[in-house]
Symmetry: C2
Subunit: 246 residues, 2 copies
């Protein structure tokens, strides 16, 4: 068993750079930790390589590289005793489905990961991130998604022009609007639609708000201004998914 | 204007200790940041004191103490340029209501704060934290609650004996159980009930599971094992709250 021991090793230095978005964008690969995430990446055929602590073993049919604790700690985002780090390919889908979730300037990585997890649960085909959203391959996003990032197609688009394209293709454009909306439980969904979730503090941008075909609201106590963005998104998707159980 | 400038000032040293749960429990007070949270604490009559950056001003009718940037930075949990830190009283309600949310070993402060926010939105009377839950006055809990921690009554109890007490008082005890549950949208709620939310990884403890009167599940795609705990709790509360709009 050959073991990489030096932090100055060329491969290790290259992988360490993947902690920054800039290098993830250049290489189209990203790091994942925890056995659960590694397994989900493997199942989807996106696991390229495994870094394994010397004298440990893990049973996946990919390239394996044994390294010291020192090296794993350098690559890890967690403070725990990590034994494996996976290198996964980004998967960029060529097309999009009929049930879309569009995220307009969503900033919190925990919210994005939670929304991806709920989108998988509630049968969204494709998540479309606007230009200003937090990076999909941020380690906190991946962890909060509980591996569902490997099971829901995600795209990045300029939302304004993408919504225009969707309108041409007869998608219903749906957003939240407390003032003039209809109750989220009363909306009839057509075959093709896009639900838009806005920024945590500001909601949906003005230039996108005026493209909505339908506004919806979640009924709630007046003492509360708004719900957490991932909770609001999940409730909307949950109500939508009822069309699959009717 | 008298300004406290020394980190060794007796009051400042005492307040700095409130970053630890042990001292919050001893003194029954806690620190809050951001104007929004300070305002919510003030509205509820729980703001005891304000620490204000010298030469700044803020309009609340409470004891004000002017301090240096150095001192605010020592007391702050945030890395931003904080201008005010509030000292708030804990509020421990004497009784509990008819609509309860029980949290069994919930560990993530972000989840707890988000659940408090949703509980306020969906008309829960009282949140009851089990012995093993994360501290209610953790700074991340308070921030994620968006100030709603000041608008929902919260208690801490031993859940096992508390559930026995609730059963004696004719509360329906409801929990999630994917295997043998009924659809969350089909449950009829009586006047008095308690919804139990379990731990992020393990769900509801075995010794509490066997006390459930009703098990419910949220219909979802089989590729997903579970939802984020705050999302699942919020969807259950959202469905429950429909009884207020019928």
């Amino acid at each position: 068993m050959e073991v990489i021991t030096s932090l100055d090793n060329k491969l290790i230095k290259r992988l360490a750079k993947l902690k920054e978005k800039k290098y993830r964008d250049l290489e189209d690969i990203f790091l994942i930790e925890t056995e659960h995430l590694i397994e989900e990446a493997y199942k989807r055929g996106l696991l390229e390589m495994l870094l394994i602590l010397e004298n440990e073993e893990i049973d996946f049919d990919v390239k394996k590289i044994y390294v010291t604790k020192n090296i794993l700690n350098k690559l890890s985002f967690l403070n725990s005793n990590v034994k494996y780090i996976g290198v996964a390919h980004k998967f960029i889908p060529k097309d999009y489905g009929k049930r879309l979730l569009l995220l307009d300037n969503l900033q919190d990585p925990g919210n994005l990961g939670t929304i991806i997890r709920s989108a998988a649960a509630f049968n969204i085909d494709t998540i479309v991130l606007g230009d200003n959203c937090v990076d999909l391959y941020n380690d906190k996003v991946i962890r909060a998604s509980e591996g569902m990032i490997f099971h829901v197609d995600c795209l990045r688009k300029n939302l304004e022009s993408f919504i225009d394209e969707l309108k041409t293709n007869n998608y219903l454009i749906i957003g939240t609007n407390v003032v003039n909306g209809i109750n989220v439980s009363e909306l009839s969904y057509p075959e093709k639609f896009a639900i838009i979730i806005g920024n945590e503090g500001q909601g949906i941008s003005a230039n996108i708000l005026n493209k909505l075909d339908k506004s919806i609201y979640i009924p709630m106590n007046k003492k509360v201004e708004s719900l957490n963005a991932s909770v609001a998104a999940s409730i909307i998707m949950y109500e939508m998914s009822k069309i699959d159980y009717e």
